[in-house]
């Protein structure tokens, strides 16, 4: 592979950064311009990415060194960017879907007082995410990693006057941070062993030292902990459902298409490490399947449309990690891309519904919106079929490939449990189809149960929906043939795709078709059945509705304990001891000052006395001084 220097690379993350600054500075006074500046910056970046991708010849990698970051002994780190095929795919998704969402937001946020802030943060997020995928070494990746976490916090708690929303933002940041601690630890271990954090240098170093399995297992596990935080896997996924407190475009961009996929990207980027740590891969596979299953089970009973989509995202991320754990990274990235398309479309559709129903999010108060919002309904329906994995939509190919990859994995640690995992994965696929159809039926079919006057959304909102739905419709067929070879230089040749006919494809999507049919049946015709089922499966359905009590368990085991420590540190250590010491020192100075002050009485007699005493002392010193010394 040849590495070419290219300074245009530096422009790619720079555009959104400038856009962020301009959107805020100009947007403060001209609120409506903020959205257009930000969208323009995004579109320009997309154009740059596209032209860079096309100028990339076979096997060429572009590199750009912004500046030497630091040099400590023999360890020097440059703030360097690198553009290879994996980065190309990620950048296209980020900037493409990002531009559409920016356009959507200009309409969605058109009457919000803080929209200049919104677009500033949104562009800042684009900058951070691009840094993440363009980073040539782990530290630049980590800068982007932290940056997206920060922007996520800022955007989730965008309506900060609402305490619940602000708390959701804080929760996201704190949980993310825990993952980041693990991630950093992994970076430290790698540095300690190889004295570098550059990806190319690490891959050659690790490839020439395949025997350090214990180290690689530990490092891979630490990096995966970071991924669980960022990509919402068990145990650190609890922030994602709460993150729905943010505006819907934020949910679409950050918590569906881009930020949450950072963990998957990281694993694909570090594939040369994970391949040498089969034990960790086995753990990842188990956690991924478990996460996918639990999240899907929770989504079955949720009534808030955004919560359904949030749990769906967690579940689909589990699928991506299943493929990554099986070592077939092109499949994970493939699902990443298709998921970005249909999940963003679903979220934007949900936003359109919320907007059209005047901020109603409860699906029980929706229904029959097909005739009021046809474009939204059709695009949402297409994306539902895609996520259900029905041939020939995009979701079918990626999900099918994931299940195939998981089923044929040769990990020695997974031999015994593989059948169990596959069963749960297939069950999850069925549940996915079911709950998504449920949300579609409850929202768009039947009769309208609410009190508002629903209407279709403006073109800035419907056009992105149409574009994304078309991608969900057609991108799958195209990508499944081109992606494996395109990504092979970066992630290897594992897994392949075999052509299948339409009949074969439809047969293979039987799980999805079954889920859709059952969903349609229960939520259009047999309307009394869902409630009856809910009551019949009482303990299980309550478990699902209360999201398996994850938050409550964490609260009991960890949060309360930490709260008490914090109270102790706050009251006893900070207020009493530290403030006491500081204030005490001041008080001491004040008191000693008062004492010293009392000698300045203004009374001449006292001064005369002091002079006399001092003279005596001097006299004594002269008379007896020699004796004291000797």
């Amino acid at each position: 592979m040849e590495v070419t220097e290219s300074s245009i690379l530096g422009l790619i993350p720079l555009c959104p950064l400038l856009g962020s600054l301009l959107a805020f500075v100009i947007g403060r006074s001209q609120k409506d311009l903020a959205g257009w500046i930000a969208t323009l910056a995004c579109v320009i970046t997309f154009g740059l990415v596209v032209s860079t991708v096309f100028s990339l010849s076979e096997g060429e990698i572009l590199a750009f060194n912004a500046f030497t970051w630091f040099e400590v002994g023999s360890f020097d780190v440059d703030f360097a960017l690198r553009f290879d095929q994996l980065t190309a795919v990620m950048c296209l998704v980020i900037t493409g879907v990002g531009s559409l969402i920016h356009l959507y937001s200009t309409a969605y946020m058109h009457d919000d007082q803080g929209r200049h802030r919104f677009f500033c943060y949104l562009n800042l997020f684009m900058f951070s995410m691009l840094l993440l995928v363009l980073g040539a070494n782990m530290l630049v990746l980590f800068v982007g990693w932290e940056g997206v976490g920060l922007c996520s916090y800022l955007l989730i708690g965008f309506w900060y006057n609402n305490l619940a929303y602000a708390s959701a933002g804080r929760k996201a940041f704190v949980v993310n941070r825990i993952g980041d601690a693990g991630f950093l630890f992994g970076i430290f271990l790698l540095y300690r062993q190889f004295d570098t954090v550059d990806f190319i240098e690490l891959s050659t170093a690790i490839a020439s030292n395949p025997e350090l399995t214990a180290l690689y297992t530990l490092v891979a596990f630490c990096l995966f902990i970071g991924a669980t935080g960022k990509s919402a896997q068990i145990p650190l996924f609890v922030w994602l459902p709460d993150a729905m407190a943010g505006p819907t475009p934020v949910s679409a961009l950050i918590h569906a298409a881009t930020m949450v996929t950072a963990g998957v990207y990281m694993m694909a980027r570090m594939n040369f490490l994970f391949v040498l740590a089969p034990y960790t891969q086995a753990i990842i596979a188990v956690i991924a399947v478990l996460t996918a299953f639990v999240a899907a089970a929770t989504a079955l009973t949720q009534n808030d449309i955004k919560k359904v989509l949030a749990y769906s995202t967690v579940s689909q991320l589990g699928f991506m990690f299943m493929a990554a754990a099986a070592g077939v990274y092109w499949v994970a990235v493939f699902h990443l891309v298709t998921h970005a398309f249909f999940k963003a479309c679903l979220f934007l559709g949900a936003g359109s519904v919320i907007h059209g129903c005047h901020h109603e999010q409860d699906m029980r108060k929706m229904g029959g919106l097909l005739k009021y919002m046809p474009v939204t309904a059709v695009t949402y329906g297409i994306s539902t079929l895609a996520i259900a994995g029905i041939y020939p939509l995009a979701g079918y190919f990626s999900k099918h490939a994931i299940l195939a990859a998981l089923g044929t994995t040769v990990n020695p640690y997974l031999e015994l449990s593989l059948n169990v995992l596959m069963t749960f994965a297939s069950l999850t696929a069925f549940m996915t189809a079911f709950y998504m159809t449920r949300s579609f039926a409850m929202t768009f079919l039947g009769d309208y149960r609410g009190h508002a006057h629903p209407h279709e959304s403006p073109w800035q909102m419907t056009m992105p929906l149409v574009v994304l739905a078309s991608l969900a419709l057609f991108a799958g067929i195209w990508l499944v043939t081109t992606l494996p070879e395109y990504l092979a230089p970066v992630v290897g040749h594992a897994g392949s795709h075999h052509q299948e006919s339409i009949i074969e494809g439809l047969v293979h999507s039987w799980v999805g078709i079954l889920g859709v049919l059952v969903g349609l049946l229960l939520y259009t015709k047999l309307l009394s059945v869902p409630a009856a089922l809910f009551k019949a499966l009482r303990p299980l359905s309550q478990l699902s509705l209360n999201k398996f009590y994850f938050d409550e368990i964490y609260d009991f085991l960890i949060v309360r304990f930490l709260g008490r420590i914090s109270q102790f540190l706050f009251k006893t250590v900070d207020q009493n001891m530290i403030d006491g010491a500081v204030n005490g020192t001041a008080a001491l100075v004040e008191v000693s000052g008062e004492v010293a002050r009392s000698t300045q009485s203004g009374q001449v007699r006292h001064y005369a006395l002091y002079m006399f005493v001092a003279t005596l002392a001097v006299l004594f010193f002269f008379v007896f001084g020699g004796k004291i010394g000797g």
């Binding site: 002050r597 300045q600 009485s601 203004g602 009374q603 001449v604 007699r605 005369a608 006395l609």
Partner: protein, 100 residues
Amino acid sequence: MVPVSYYLTLSAIMFTVGVVGVVVRRNSIVVFMCIELMLNAVNLSFVALSHYLGNLNGQIAVFFVMVVAAAEAAVGLAIIISMFRAMKSVETSNADQLNG
């Protein structure tokens, strides 16, 4: 003859009385009297030692001390008079405006 130590003791006692008077008494005129007492105690000491050592230097020093005492008395009384004009009193405890 009277031993020198008697004179020196008397001088010391007079000096101490003078010092105590300066420190303790509040009336500034009395303070001045005590200052004069201190000066005279020193004079006595000078003269006694001059006689004891048979050296006239001590007695010359007495002249100096007297000159200084006279000048100082003149200036000091001028200060007391202006103090009285300002505060209508010669109590030193009233002149405490420079306190901290």
